[in-house]
């Protein structure tokens, strides 16, 4: 009997992230007396940085290991880097915020690292067990993170809702996987695809049913209509830093697995899922944008906006060509910068016992906090898709992909939706600069780490808008061999 070969180098970035997660837990136990836990954040940053550096060294090579269950290809690399950037920014914005809100537990950073580990596994798994385990590692960590503010009823409620619905969605995802397994006898994505092609199982009811269940399971994670309803509640209730993490990281991870599974395991069913995803994309964009208009809480508004963004990304998913899939990657990266940036602004505008998350709290801060407002304006305009910001290029690629595949109506509906979205994004900007404040917001303390995150996010947003081709060519190289 041959022992399975184990190539630990292949998962070195994952190992580093996991090891630093445990290390943070351990250090916290030894120094449990210390009130200020920011040093744990710095340790996490070091770990994330190392993991990123290791991931970059693997660039250019495609290696599969662990009996073909895990692959380190360009696609995995792109997502690893995206997740690590997201984690890096999240940790940066968390250090001041957790201290302020009294949730500075050592576990906080460890859980962020574990969730990141889960995301990385999701993007790099080529076997459904790995993808499932990655997804659950991520989800369970985030259930806890969402309820971190134990004293806050809303945070607890958010955790409950996310947990119950998450477990519910997991049930469907699992059933979908079981049906695939039953129909094809394999859990390897490539084998599933080749078995379906060779036996011509395109009318197999079990596989079609599994398609439905997988759509529910992944649709939940990426917050697409009608599996989106948890999003606003959870985003509103969860600690803001975690909201940022969820809106960017979980969504990106959901897409990474969705694209990998659908394009490598079920390419034969593309005509089937294209029309469903078309509908879901339109519904997601429309519901997200329309309901965002009548929101009064900025976190909730951003939650609906994140639903809408999932819809835009689904447009590229429907298009499904090279430009579309690389557009998804580009979009997720750009979205990570602008969305974390926006949530950072939300965090910075609050203080202890006074979150200031109502949209009308933003009235008149434009001249009081010019840099903060300028940054917020950049992020909002980017999300609205105004050139020359990252969000614009992202939408440009996504919609051009749809046009290229002759999904004209989809592109038109997408552009119309973008136009609607300008309304609620600009409303905040207008409030900031052209309205008198209703009440004075004073005594804000800007944590230097969060400001650093803000600067990085601004740079990222501008970079992706002005120099889009670098990232796009990276994304285009990344998807080679995926389809």
């Amino acid at each position: 009997m041959k022992l399975p070969e184990i190539d630990l180098c292949l998962i070195a970035p994952e190992i580093i992230v996991a090891a630093f997660g445990f290390f943070v837990l351990l250090v916290d136990v030894f120094f449990s007396k210390r009130e200020n836990k920011a040093y744990l954040g710095w340790i996490s940053l070091v770990g994330i940085f190392f993991a990123g550096a290791l991931a970059v060294t693997q660039a250019g090579s495609v290696k599969s290991g662990f009996e073909g269950m895990f692959i380190s290809d360009g696609y995995a690399l792109f997502f690893r880097i995206t997740f690590l950037i997201i984690a890096f920014l999240t940790v940066l914005i968390s250090m001041g915020y957790t201290q302020r809100e009294g949730i500075a537990f050592g576990e906080y950073y460890a859980l962020i690292l574990f969730a990141t580990l889960g995301m990385m596994l999701m993007a790099a798994g080529t076997h459904l067990v790995i993808i499932f385990l990655g997804l659950e590692t991520m989800s369970i960590s985030i259930y806890i993170l969402a309820g971190m503010m134990r004293e806050d009823k809303r945070s607890v409620e958010a955790a409950l809702k996310y947990f119950l619905l998450g477990a519910f969605a997991t049930g469907f995802l699992l059933y979908g996987i079981a049906l695939i397994y039953g129909a094809t006898g394999s859990l390897y994505l490539k084998d599933v695809a080749s078995y379906i092609a060779s036996k011509n199982l395109l009318r197999n009811p079990m596989l079609l049913m599994s398609l439905v269940f997988l759509t529910i399971g992944f649709g939940f994670k990426i917050a697409s209509v009608p599996f989106h309803m948890w999003t606003p509640d959870v985003y509103e209730g969860a600690p803001t830093s975690i909201t940022a993490f969820m809106a960017t990281g979980v969504k990106a991870a959901g897409f990474s697995a969705l694209v990998r599974v659908f394009f490598s395991a079920l390419p034969g069913f593309r005509p089937d899922w294209t029309s469903i995803m078309w509908l879901i994309a339109v519904a997601t964009m429309t519901v997200g944008n329309i309901v965002a208009i009548s929101q009064s809480n900025i976190k909730r508004m951003l939650a609906y906006s994140s639903i809408a963004h999932a819809g835009y990304i689904l447009v590229a998913f429907v298009a499904g060509n090279d430009l579309g899939v690389s557009g998804i990657l580009f979009y997720l990266m750009a979205y990570a910068f602008m969305n974390i940036g926006a949530f950072t602004c939300v965090i910075l505008l609050g203080k202890k016992g006074e979150e200031n998350t109502l949209i009308r709290d933003y009235a008149g801060i434009g001249f009081k906090y010019p840099l903060l407002s300028a940054a917020m304006t950049i992020f909002l305009l980017s999300m609205a898709g105004i050139p020359p910001l990252g969000g614009f290029m992202a939408k440009f690629y996504v919609f051009s992909a749809a046009v290229k595949e002759k999904f004209y109506w989809l592109a038109i509906l997408g552009v119309l939706n973008s136009a609607v979205s300008v309304y609620y994004y600009l409303r905040v900007t207008v409030l900031m600069y052209f309205r008198e404040p209703e009440r004075e917001i004073t005594g804000l303390q800007f944590s230097p780490a969060a400001v650093a995150a803000l600067v990085l996010a601004v740079i990222g947003t501008l970079y992706m808008g002005i120099f889009p081709s670098n990232v796009l060519s990276f994304a285009q190289k990344s998807i080679a061999g995926l389809m």
Binding site: P205, L208, V212, F213, I216, D233, S275, V291, P370, N470
Partner: protein, 663 residues
């Protein structure tokens, strides 16, 4: 050094960011340093690059630096890239140099304005955009700069937006420019698609011009005319010149920089840049030349009767731009650019001088309330005097060489014509007249200054007068780089620009057979066929005409100040016509604005109220209502959410089921 061409636009961009974000916070001292030094640094960079460029043999004086890919989609690729060649570097030198002095001047001029940081923010942004326009290596980036300078112009004309007239002038400039830009965009698209038909999807200058011979003459003619409409808007030519006089509502240094020295010359630059295309389209060139010369004489005549010193200068600017278009229109691209350069010096100086006069007289603009300022503000007077001599075309100053080059080419080039020369020469005489009129009314004669103002007339501070002196120096010597051969000079400018704009006339000849019109047009025969004696004779004639203009001005405004009034009474109708700028604004008002307005009102009453408003309000209402009601679906109860998920799943499953049955 070429590799660092991106530094030239980068410095103003940094200045813009710093002033924009920190200017208000860090105060005037900071802004005063950052604003001018950003431009100074890019001026220095331009100088270094210039010297490296002239160190190379003429054939190798071309360099492109691609900063990054900008838009990549399918087989179309556009880069953000800058190119260095004699034309662009000359423009960059003029723009950064003149901007630099005007920035310094502005530090003094705008010192007490509350919008000081905002002013420098806009100004730096303007220079950044202008440099993008000039250095761009493709049409798209050029267009970005083109729109960008338009935006800055709008912002700066309306800088004192509290004044209604200023914000209206800004709007007018913006709207008129849009008309031109429409032409530019159409021209650009047409160029893009018609080259695309040959499989060349590009907007890169080098590639476009290399492949221009693939286009058929009619297409090129259409493209160039469309592009020229854009140039008319930006460079204030007939019939789109009406915004420029109103643009004088902005701060005077802005008028000097944007509305005299740099932005308004963008149209000339664009035509010169596209010389390959224009040389292929003799009809377009004829149109350019005729519009140019008509603008030159027409606005010069308006200059006769203006009493507002800045308005005189504004009409004079339009008139001089007309000369430049005449130059490029007859294929003398280098002459046009040469005049652009000298004009930047002396017209910039004239505006700054006017600003200095305003500064001395607490903001007075009306020349009827000036006079005898010669002794009181001597530096301003002498520099203004030099600039006036230069613009009048007095031999020895820069304006003489450049204007004469254009006049000679208008006469002798294969695209030229005797009539073009005649009109232009008369316009030159008129220029001399109204410029000296302005000079005499302002600095000579009896003082008509308001007594309240009179006692604190003072010379401007050094920070304003030094730029005046530097520009005066340039106005004198600036012409010596282009002394024509007939005067024993080497005409360096012409040779320097030759690699880009070619022999101009010769290129035109190669395509002369394309159109019958061009043959009819090329009346005066071969360019080389004229003797040096003829060229000298022409030169003397134009000087004489200029001197006649000056003489009349002297007679009217020094010798016998009552005479103009008498004449005005005698020919009251004519006077009033000219005084009111031929009622063109009113004509436009009736033709376009009112008719559009009444059309608009009609549409608004009939159509808009019911259909559009109904639809828009309806949509807004519908979305609001939808937003409110879809929101209610979100009950907050977990099980409803789970139910929605199940429902979604059932719908998808149902879809697959139906699909399975029917396919």
């Amino acid at each position: 050094m070429f590799e660092y061409v991106w530094l030239i636009p980068l410095f103003p961009a940094i200045g813009f960011v710093l002033n924009g974000f920190l200017g208000r916070r860090l105060g005037k001292g900071f802004v005063s340093w950052v604003g001018p030094s950003a431009i100074g640094l890019s001026f220095l960079t331009a100088i270094f690059i210039f010297f490296e460029l002239i160190g190379r043999p003429p054939a190798e004086r071309h360099f492109e630096k691609v900063i990054f890919d900008w838009v990549v989609s399918g087989n179309f690729r556009t880069v953000i890239g800058y190119q260095i060649d004699p034309l662009s570097i000359l423009m960059a030198l003029v723009v950064t140099g003149v901007s630099f002095f005007i920035h310094i001047y502005s530090v003094g001029y705008m010192h007490d304005d509350p919008g000081y940081p905002r002013y420098f923010t806009y100004l730096n942004l303007f220079v950044f955009m202008m440099l993008n326009l000039i250095l761009a290596n493709n049409f798209l980036l050029m267009f970005v700069g083109w729109e960008g300078v338009g935006l800055c112009s709008y912002l700066l004309i309306g800088f004192w937006f509290e004044k209604d007239s200023a914000s209206n002038a800004g709007k007018k400039a913006f709207v008129v420019n849009r008309v031109g830009d429409f032409g530019f965009i159409l021209g650009m698209f047409l160029l893009f698609t018609s080259l695309g038909k040959h499989g060349i999807w590009t907007l890169d200058f080098t590639e476009v011009f290399a492949n221009a011979n693939k286009l058929d003459p009619a297409t090129v003619t259409t493209i160039t005319i469309l592009l020229f409409i854009g140039a008319c808007g930006k460079s204030a030519q007939i019939p789109l010149y009406v915004w420029l006089p109103d643009a004088m509502e902005g701060p005077t240094p802005v008028s000097s920089l944007i509305h005299a020295a740099t932005m308004v010359t963008a149209g000339v630059y664009m035509v010169a840049r596209c010389n390959v295309l224009y040389s292929m389209a003799p009809v377009s060139m004829a149109i350019v030349a005729i519009v140019g010369v008509a603008t030159a004489i027409y606005t010069a005549s308006i200059g006769f009767c203006q009493t507002d010193i800045k308005k005189v200068l504004a009409y004079s600017t339009i008139s001089q731009l007309g000369y430049m278009f005449l130059g490029v229109g007859v294929g003398a691209y280098s002459a046009g650019i040469f005049h652009l350069m000298t004009h930047a010096f002396f017209k910039g100086l004239l505006f700054l001088g006017a600003g200095s006069v305003m500064h001395a007289l607490s903001g007075e603009l009306d020349m009827r309330k000036m006079g005898a300022l010669r002794k009181k503000i001597p530096i301003t007077f002498w520099t203004f005097f030099i600039a006036t001599l230069a613009i009048a075309g007095i031999p020895g100053l820069s304006g003489f060489f450049s204007k004469d080059e254009i006049l000679w080419q208008a006469f002798s080039s294969s695209h030229g014509h005797f009539l073009l020369w005649l009109v232009a020469a008369v316009a030159a005489g008129m220029t001399a007249f109204y410029m000296f009129r302005a000079l005499f009314m302002t600095f000579f004669g009896q003082s008509r200054v308001d007594p309240h103002v009179a006692h604190h007339i003072h010379e401007s501070p050094k920070i304003m007068t030094v730029p005046l002196m530097i520009l005066a120096f340039l106005s004198i010597v600036g012409g010596y780089v282009g002394v024509p051969h007939v005067l024993g000079g080497a005409n360096h400018v012409h040779e320097f620009l030759a690699p880009v704009v070619g022999g101009g006339a010769e290129l035109g000849k190669a395509h002369a057979g394309i159109s019958l019109l061009s043959q009819a047009w090329a009346s005066s025969g071969e360019a080389g066929g004229h003797s040096a004696a003829l060229e000298l004779l022409m030169m003397v004639i134009s000087v004489v005409i200029a001197l006649i203009g000056i003489g009349i001005a002297y007679l009217f405004y020094i010798k016998n100040p009552a005479l103009p009034k008498l004449l005005a009474e005698r020919w009251r109708g004519l006077y009033r016509l000219v005084y009111n700028k031929y009622y063109v604004d009113e004509l436009y008002e009736i033709l376009f604005i009112n008719s559009l307005k009444s059309l608009g009102t009609g549409l608004w009453r009939g159509f808009d109220d019911f259909v559009i408003d109904g639809t828009v309000n309806g949509i807004a209402y519908l979305i609001g209502w939808l937003s409110g009601s879809i929101r209610r679906v979100q009950t907050g109860l977990v099980q409803n959410y789970a139910f929605a998920m199940i429902l979604g799943g059932v719908i998808i499953a149902g879809y697959y089921l139906i699909r399975g049955i029917f396919y």
